[in-house]
């Protein structure tokens, strides 16, 4: 059976959920061979084996943290040459897409980004993508070289599928471009204790109607009652009420959770582009004409300062 390379996104050995989803998709095409780089790479093996990795190729070197993107491309290319896979799958993070794209140029392959589903096909893997602010769904294939495909979080279930997960050291030689862009300082984001926005099963977002940074506490309280991530519309971010890392929309994150709750968000195209593929959509807005109501499964026309706290209290009461 053909092997499929899966690039592992991990933090000091803790594998992030989108990588486990990639393993589910990789098993539809062939046998997953994982590639884990940087500090803690070898610690990923147990989790990856549990979810279907037949092999885990690992490499660690200071270059992975000290220089931007290119050292990881060198390593993924080394893995590609060692394995000759049927496809290369990479999580659709900002960095993941850059790594995948540079690898694709080097190996003379086409690239598909932001797939939301993947199936085996007669002419190679078929990727489903969303286009034009998720108003269209396309099916595409890579027609030249080995398919390089990046996949968005929440595109497949995480499935247990125990495999050998044999760890092998990957030998990497860094090219001249690897040390081109130096990372001179790195400030880790403070953890909020909430789930990662793109990976969360539930997202609670606030927009212009929240009317001030201080009022975002009621959005956060609702999110915490549901164990959800917090999002914000561009209007709220541009006003400086909430960090850009939490922005949902065309120029922010694109999310596809089981449940999306929009509070005080009108639903402009810029926002819809980032949340339209959510399974269930709920909105609270005082304007009955707001376009967000065209998308919802359930909408409440009302003052979010009344509705949201009441909802939070009710959820807490029901959860006991």
């Amino acid at each position: 059976m053909a092997e499929v390379l899966v690039y592992v996104d991990h933090v000091d050995g803790a594998v992030r959920k989108p990588t486990l989803e990639l393993l589910t998709l990789a098993r539809r095409i062939g046998e997953p061979v994982a590639v884990a780089l940087g500090a803690g790479a070898a610690d990923t093996a147990a989790t990856l084996a549990e979810h279907g990795a037949v092999k885990v190729l690992t490499a660690d070197a200071p270059e992975f943290a000290d220089y931007l993107v290119v050292p990881k491309v060198d390593a993924l290319q080394a893995a590609y040459e060692a394995v000759s896979p049927a496809a290369v799958l990479v999580p659709s993070s900002a960095e993941g897409k850059e790594i995948a794209a540079r690898l694709a140029v080097r190996i003379g392959s086409g690239i598909i980004t932001d797939a939301v589903d993947l199936e085996a096909g007669d002419e190679g893997p078929v990727a489903t993508q969303s286009a034009f602010a998720a108003s269209f769904t396309t099916k595409s294939r890579v027609s030249k070289g080995t398919p390089v495909i990046t996949v968005k979080p929440n595109s497949a279930p995480v499935e247990a599928a125990p495999a050998a997960g044999a760890v092998e050291a990957l030998s990497v030689t860094f090219g001249a471009l690897a040390t081109g862009t130096k990372v001179v300082a790195r400030t880790p984001r403070e953890s909020t204790g909430r789930p990662e926005l793109t990976e969360a099963a539930i997202v609670v977002s606030g927009g212009r109607g929240v009317n001030g940074a201080e009022n975002f506490s009621i959005i956060e309280a609702l999110a915490d009652s549901l164990g959800a991530a917090v999002g914000a519309s561009r209007a709220a971010v541009d006003a400086g009420w909430y960090p850009h890392t939490n922005q949902v929309g065309q120029t922010g994150k694109s999310v596809s959770p089981q449940l999306y709750i929009a509070s005080g968000i009108s639903g402009a195209i810029q926002h819809r582009a980032g949340m339209q593929t959510s399974k269930t959509i709920v909105a609270i807005n005082k304007d009955a004409e707001a376009p967000i109501f065209d998308l919802v499964d359930y909408g409440v026309v009302g003052d979010l300062f009344q509705v949201v706290p009441q909802l939070t209290d009710e959820i807490k009461a029901r959860k006991g």
């Binding site: 993107v69 993070s93 396309t138 609270i284 026309v301 959820i315």
Partner: protein
């Protein structure tokens, strides 16, 4: 020595229009008005600011696209860019990111550069991979997704805000930079700028000027194939209630029914 900055821009269908695919599954560009991609305005803005800080600098805007794409160049020139290059060729129709990046790389090399600046993604294709591919093709450092950028003494520095960390980056020129929508509001063209833009040079190049073969681009030369495109079915109308004092509780009831609570 003059700092040569090339800004890559894209002419895209207006995102607020009714965008769709043409019969050959390429982006339909006839039925929706086009404009300079909003995300590229930030690239033009940062190029102009860097040029203003430099002793001597020249900003060239570059686009690959059909005849109408000249509108995007005009906009950038009226914002303050010095000159423009338009790569136009009938064989380019349907070119994917690999072909486009090849043409851009050849054009950038022909124009001559110390610094290439792009936006973070286009607002139509939204892949966001062109900057990385371009850096790979040009063989220069990639300094991408910056929310702050500065050029001094042949060195580019900037801040990249990622999911897990904020990074301070540094690279020597020549280099490729991409900037996000957080890098600073783009200026509006002034009346004077609009008038001046009419006199600024716009060069037109085709594939033969760049030694690119027709087979390397276009729909046939594409390294990816779109097999189908279907309009997402409209979401079925949901329940909308007006809050009469119990709206939060009603919503909780709905969420409980959907097993979210």
């Amino acid at each position: 020595m003059s700092l040569r900055i090339v800004v890559c821009v894209k002419y895209v269908p207006d995102a607020t229009g009714d965008r769709h695919f043409a019969d050959d599954l390429t982006v339909d560009r006839d039925d929706v008005d086009g404009l300079l991609s909003e995300l590229d305005e930030y690239a033009v803005e940062q190029a102009l600011q860097i040029a203003e800080e430099a002793d001597e600098a020249e900003v060239t805007v570059l686009t690959v696209g059909p005849e109408d794409a000249r509108d995007a160049l005009r906009k950038a020139l009226s914002m303050g860019a010095d000159k423009a290059v338009h790569v136009e060729d009938d064989d380019l129709h349907g070119t994917d990111v690999m072909g486009t990046s090849l043409v851009l790389a050849k054009a950038i090399e022909k124009a001559g550069y110390d610094l290439v600046i792009t936006g973070m993604a286009s607002t139509d294709g939204t892949m966001g991979v062109l900057p990385a591919i371009l850096a790979e093709r040009l063989g220069v450092p990639q300094v991408t997704l910056l929310s702050e950028v500065k050029v001094e003494d042949g060195t580019v520095t900037g801040r990249r805000d990622g999911d897990t960390a904020s990074e301070q980056l540094e690279a020597s020129l020549p280099a490729l930079v991409s900037v996000t929508d957080q890098s600073g509001e783009a200026r509006y063209p002034s009346f004077k700028g609009i008038m001046a833009a009419k006199k600024k040079p716009v060069e037109s190049w085709d594939l033969s000027d760049l030694d690119v073969e027709a087979e390397e681009v276009g729909l046939e030369g594409s390294w990816t194939a779109v097999d189908s495109a279907a309009q997402r079915p409209a979401r079925t109308a949901g329940t909308i209630v007006k809050d009469e004092g119990e709206g939060g509780k009603q919503l909780a009831e709905f969420l409980a029914g959907q097993k979210f609570i």
